[in-house]
């Protein structure tokens, strides 16, 4: 019985195998970390909406304040999607025959909700509070991006736990005066010095907790 002998060319494979053995785990780690990251999976979610409502027009060109519609944001945990009445404050008169507004008019007549698609979803075990943030100098733009330039709203930031903690560990650079809270074009990094932002930490008594129970109950 003859012994099996590896052919001579397999010797060339040995260094290749060593290289593959060293790079393959790194490659897998890279693909998983990069591919499963919330920045890949969550950012960029842009559901189609029942009405082609343009934030770029209303909040951008018209310059309407975010709180005209999302009026609960300063007093409640939840920044409410406005009732159809808010749309009809103007649209009983302006563009009142527009085909784009058919679902709005139907909702106004029937009293049924417009089925807006929710863009910014958090896990059900996290209890984010809008009022706690916007009343203490965290602007809308920090989490929602330049909504005033979006025709259709997309998810601009990952809203993952690590991303929340980045700011909770050092909020200084994310703070602005409360008077600029809905001004999406205003950037505290160019408009204020680091010292001025540090003074906001004291002014607003900002002590962001990293306790589990801060966000999870």
């Amino acid at each position: 019985m003859s012994r099996f002998l590896f052919p001579r060319w397999t010797n060339a494979l040995l260094p290749l195998l060593l290289v593959a053995g060293a790079t393959l785990p790194l490659y897998v780690v890279f693909v998983v970390a990069y591919g499963f990251s919330p920045k890949t999976l969550d950012v960029g979610y842009m559901p189609s909406q029942p009405v082609p409502y343009s934030h770029a027009l209303h909040a951008g060109i018209l310059g309407m304040d975010c709180r005209y519609c999302h009026n609960t944001v300063e007093s409640a945990a939840f920044a409410a999607v406005p009732p159809t009445q808010t749309c009809m404050n103007c649209h009983t008169q302006i563009h009142r025959d527009s085909p784009k507004l058919v679902p709005v008019r139907q909702s106004y007549e029937t009293g049924l909700s417009i089925p807006w698609a929710k863009v910014h979803k958090l896990p059900d075990y996290s209890y984010f509070d809008h009022s706690a943030h916007v009343n203490r100098g965290v602007g809308c733009v920090e989490c929602h991006g330049r909504v005033d330039q979006m025709e259709v709203v997309w998810k601009d930031q990952p809203l993952s736990m690590g991303w929340c903690l980045d700011c909770h560990r050092d909020p200084t650079d994310r703070l602005r005066p409360v008077s600029q809270i809905t001004n999406l074009a205003w950037d505290q990094k160019t408009q204020m010095t680091r010292e001025e932002r540090e003074s906001l930490v004291k002014l607003y008594h900002i002590n962001p907790s990293e306790n589990c129970s801060t966000c999870h109950r």
């Binding site: 060319w9 060339a12 494979l13 290749l16 490659y27 890279f30 693909v31 990069y34 591919g35 499963f36 920045k39 890949t40 999976l41 969550d42 950012v43 960029g44 979610y45 842009m46 559901p47 189609s48 018209l62 310059g63 309407m64 304040d65 709180r67 005209y68 009026n71 007093s75 409640a76 945990a77 939840f78 409410a80 999607v81 009732p83 009445q85 808010t86 009809m88 404050n89 103007c90 009983t92 008169q93 302006i94 563009h95 009142r96 025959d97 527009s98 009293g111 049924l112 909700s113 896990p123 059900d124 075990y125 997309w154 998810k155 008077s179």
Partner: protein
């Protein structure tokens, strides 16, 4: 080395570039499909969040409106001065006792006015906010009003008929609207509506003042 092995190594090397390329593309493009959830943990629980859906009800709303005729504690609305701007059967001419006239209140009123009123009435209250400008442009379109737009010039708060109104009437207009203006009673809390009414008075004073009403030490700046 056999050709087959060489090709296999080259092809697997090229294939290994595919996942990073796909991931880079996913990162760079918006996606209308719900995000892929690798680990569900307890992200989706059988509970109702604000403004969520509940198919059990005909209107699909999980949040239920109060039963008709229900009165919540502290919401009897018996204080007509505070809730309606009516005192002794007439428009109240003073602020209600719950909302004392302070500098903070006027600043609050300014901020609220700038959110809810300026789109039509403008920052100076003269009635030429950006929505008013836009609506007039739509109405006066050469080929006819765009999408059936109708518009009446927004009222100036400096109009003689508004200046003579008691503050309670201005509060009532904010709450219930008037003519083509919608009511903001459900959109703005009652205290903020009083703050706005007080700020409307500030605008009226400031835009219709005479030089001798300016404090002596500020007149040089005029």
């Amino acid at each position: 080395m056999p050709r087959l092995i060489v090709y296999a190594i080259l092809i697997s090397g090229l294939l290994a570039l595919l996942p990073p390329a796909i991931i880079a593309r996913v990162r760079a493009t918006p996606d209308p499909n719900p995000p892929v959830h690798i680990f569900h943990d307890m992200d989706f629980q059988t509970k109702y969040l604000p403004q969520s859906e509940n198919a059990q009800y005909a209107d699909g709303r999980a949040q239920r409106p109060p039963v008709l005729g229900a009165v919540a504690r502290g919401e009897t609305y018996a204080d007509t001065h505070y809730y309606d701007g009516v005192s002794g059967g007439q428009w109240a001419s003073a602020m209600p006792t719950q909302v004392p006239l302070t500098m903070e209140l006027l600043q609050r009123g300014e901020a609220r006015f700038n959110i809810y009123c300026t789109p039509c009435h403008g920052y100076d209250g003269a009635g030429n906010g950006i929505v008013n400008q836009r609506a007039i442009a739509l109405v006066s379109n050469a080929a006819g009003p765009v999408n059936g737009t109708v518009w009446v010039q927004a009222k100036s708060v400096h109009d003689e008929t508004v200046i003579v109104q008691p503050i309670g009437q201005i509060f009532n207009t904010i709450t219930h609207g008037v003519r083509n203006m919608a009511g903001y009673g459900s959109q703005i809390p009652v205290e903020d509506r009083w703050a706005i009414a007080a700020y409307v008075r500030v605008l009226q004073r400031s835009q219709n003042a005479t030089p001798d009403q300016v404090p002596a030490d500020r007149r040089a700046g005029l």
